[in-house]
Amino acid sequence: MASRLGRSRIPFALALAIALLIAEVVIEPSFAKPGNWPGELSVLAPFAILAMASTPSVLSGGGGIDLTVGPLSTVINCIFVAWLIPHGWNGLESVVVLLAIGAAVGFVNGMLVAVLRYQPVVATLCGFFILAGLAEKIAPNPLPLPANWTTHLAGKVGPIPGGLIMIACPLVIWWLLGRTSYLRALYAVGGDDASAYSAGIDVVKVRVLAYTLGGLFTAIGGIALTALIQTSSAATASQYALIAVAGVALGGTSFAGGRGGMFQSLLGAFCIYMIQQLLSSANVSATYQQVVYGAVLIAGVLISTRFPRGFTVRRLAT
């Protein structure tokens, strides 16, 4: 106990995020201007939220992963732009509809994985294709979006950047769940499902709920995406799918389940966003971006598995 007092642990993703942020501000000082924050946050929001949406399924263990996150967010975007807006559903009711669709798709994923025992990769890969196809069907061409409530989310809502509000949504839901017994059950099931089962935890329900949560968060991500691009875009489906998973991995959440969390995924997504920023600030060709993502991911996963509990930093004893 005593030996821990003078130390604190900094996860790899946090250390990397801080380093990247400093580097970016040095290269491109305008990045730090408060006036640019709302814009920057609205670009970060879809990344960050979709990485967070990928997290509960990974935490639930049993090879859990949700590849539908990318195309589902696109479907949400297309439904909103191509169906709801033309029908005059542009207020609070559209939010409810979109969240319900997201949760329903997540629920189906959960049933496939936990009840019908599909391999999560296979089940959600099927969902990936179905949803990507649906998005193309709903809005084959980009449709313009008239002024609507999401427009504000791309900028400021009162004094607060809209991107920040949307990123906060999943975190608040997660925090509220942390006040119940659910999160502990989720970590237990992900950590060792046999132990959890023998202790009387309903492993199936916990996993179904994890995928459902993922679907719900994805719907929030879809709204953030809509706010950012202000059009329908079926083409972004596959683009976000793998970046979201990369964010989870870089954040240090274990794909074996039971270790990690939403905040880590947020950090992971932030790192990916910062790498993107940094490369464009340094005038590196966009074609190299994906190469760099991959390389950083390899190094990042290696480092976070070698130091699963982060770096120990000595502080001055007070």
Binding site: R184, G191, D192, Y197, S198, A199
Partner: protein, 521 residues
């Protein structure tokens, strides 16, 4: 003490019709897993406030009974009463908990990444519900842990930082913190150190005095006679003695009851492998240790010898057999000694290993019979790198006759063969490589008696030809009837070694449980 062939019928309760209420009653419960029968008409009664021990050797059905009582398995037939309430079967561990039954299993079911507090409190709340106050939770967990451990761990430390004994103590605390009406300890004390074990017994006794009932399963006779108020003995899925009192349950009597008397026997095979002169040494393990702290094993295997490895599951016999296959082990070949450190190096010197899990480790289920057979000898069929299938089919034909393997053609999928014939194909694969030493891990597990006898016959032929065989077996009768000598493993050491003349059923089973029986007959 002689062995009776007729199993003892359940003795009547010493207090027939007494007012002592029963906490749990099982009557006529049967359970099959596919073709395997685990429980036959099993009966068992647990009184309120007693510690009831269940004993039996491997595969006697006690673990299946426990799993039925803790909601892991559903019985095929039979009745279950908890208190006076009839229960049709417990659908899940959560349902068992609601009936007041908490079970601690042999496997240490702690979640490595989660804290001690969470591990102990695991499953106490519903799925999405505001939990009870943190302070209360901590206090209750602390109280139980302080009872079980001399130095309780920090509640916030992750379980992976704890010792095995501490982790198992957390699992026992998880059961106790629920205030169960019935506590089941299924060999869960084997992971505990001596002090914690003693504390657990004390905790169980004090709760039993307050009305809790406990079912206690252990492979240690001293624990059983120390802790159990009454003892039930199981054998081959049946209750052979129910509720023996402490006076009746001497360890000698318990051993006699656990010892079955069904004969595997095939007289001819026994005769054919009776006393033969031992050949030259072929394999040595100078000072092999299975664990850092355990006594070294100096084993020497001679040509034409048939050696059995015995013991309760998980006492080191598997590790020993694997050590013979994978090294480091000294292979003696025509006066030349060579230390071998990998399975492939061993195979080059004629040492071949057949793993226990047929489907997982030995068969290639996507391949056909011929391909499965020729895996180790395929290079002999190649001319200029091209494989001539006829050559391997010819070889397979020879073994088909010798081992009596039933299949229609070499292109038949391996999955369509019975377990016995699959095992024969695996044996044929190894025999075709002309081994000098054959290492077999429980080769007759789950195959019918006819196929077993064919395999015994083949082993008899092999040893007469001078092949040395080391065979791990979980069937006591195989040790009695086949082996030239038997090594009994206990706690990752060789507990004792018996020659063919010394092996008796009583002695062998007694030695599994760490007891030495001096005389027999």
């Amino acid at each position: 003490m002689g062995v009776t062939d007729t199993p003892e019928t359940a003795s009547p309760s010493p207090h027939p019709g007494s007012a002592e209420p029963s906490a749990l009653a099982v009557a006529g419960v049967s359970k099959n897993f596919g073709a395997t029968t685990a429980l036959v008409e099993c009966s068992f009664e647990l009184r309120r406030g007693e510690v009831h021990a269940i004993v039996g050797e491997n595969g006697s059905g006690k673990s299946t009974l426990v799993k039925i009582l803790s909601g892991v398995h559903r019985p095929d037939s039979g009745t279950l009463h908890i208190g006076s309430e009839p229960v049709t079967g417990l659908a899940s561990p959560a349902v068992a908990h609601r009936h007041g039954i908490a079970t601690v299993f042999q496997e240490v079911l702690a979640i490595a990444a989660r804290s001690v507090l969470e591990n102990v409190w695991l499953g106490m709340e519903g799925l999405v519900r505001t939990p009870s106050g943190l302070a209360e939770r901590r206090a209750r967990v602390n109280a139980v842990l302080a009872e079980l451990l001399a130095v309780p761990p920090n509640l916030d430390a992750p379980a992976e930082e704890l010792s095995l004994s501490q982790r198992q103590a957390c699992c026992i605390a998880r059961a106790l913190v629920r205030h169960p009406k019935i506590l089941i300890l299924d060999e869960s004390t084997s992971a505990l150190d001596a002090d914690t074990c003693e504390r657990v017994f004390r905790a169980v006794r004090s709760r039993a005095a307050a009305g809790m009932s406990a079912i206690f399963i252990s492979h240690r006779m001293d624990e059983v006679t120390e802790v159990g108020d009454r003892v039930t003995v199981m054998r081959s899925g049946r209750t052979v003695a129910a509720g023996l009192s402490r006076e009746q349950a001497t360890s000698g009597e318990l051993l006699r009851l656990m010892t079955g008397a069904d004969h595997l026997a095939d007289g001819k095979t026994r005769l054919s492998i009776a006393e033969r002169p031992a050949g030259a040494p072929v394999l040595r393990t100078p000072g092999l240790r299975l664990r850092e702290q355990t006594a070294p094993i100096d084993f020497e295997l001679r040509a034409g010898e048939l050696v059995g490895l015995a013991g309760l599951d998980g006492h080191g016999q598997d590790a020993f057999l694997w050590a013979l296959a994978a090294g480091p082990v000294t292979v003696v070949d025509g006066g030349q000694e060579r230390v071998v450190t990998s399975p492939w190096a061993a195979a080059r010197r004629g040492v071949y290993f057949v793993p226990r899990e047929r489907r997982a480790d030995a068969l290639f289920s996507g391949m056909n019979v011929g391909e499965n057979f020729s895996l180790m000898t395929i290079d002999r069929d190649a001319r200029l790198g091209l494989i001539r299938r006829a050559s391997s089919s010819q070889r397979l034909g020879r073994f088909r006759e010798r081992l009596g393997i039933l299949f229609s053609s070499p292109t038949q999928p391996i999955d369509t063969l019975s377990g016995g014939n699959q095992q024969k194909i695996i044996l044929a694969r190894v025999l075709a490589a002309q081994p000098r030493v054959l290492l077999l891990n429980d080769p007759t597990r789950g195959i019918d008696i006819g196929a077993k006898r064919d395999l015994y016959g083949a082993l008899g032929e092999l040893v007469r030809e001078g092949v040395a065989v080391v065979m791990l077996s979980t069937e006591v009768d195989e040790h009695i009837e086949l082996m030239d000598r038997v090594l009994v493993f206990r706690e990752h050491q060789v507990f004792c070694e018996m020659t063919r003349a010394q092996v008796t059923r009583d002695r062998l089973i007694a030695s599994f449980f760490g007891q030495r029986v001096d005389s027999h007959g």
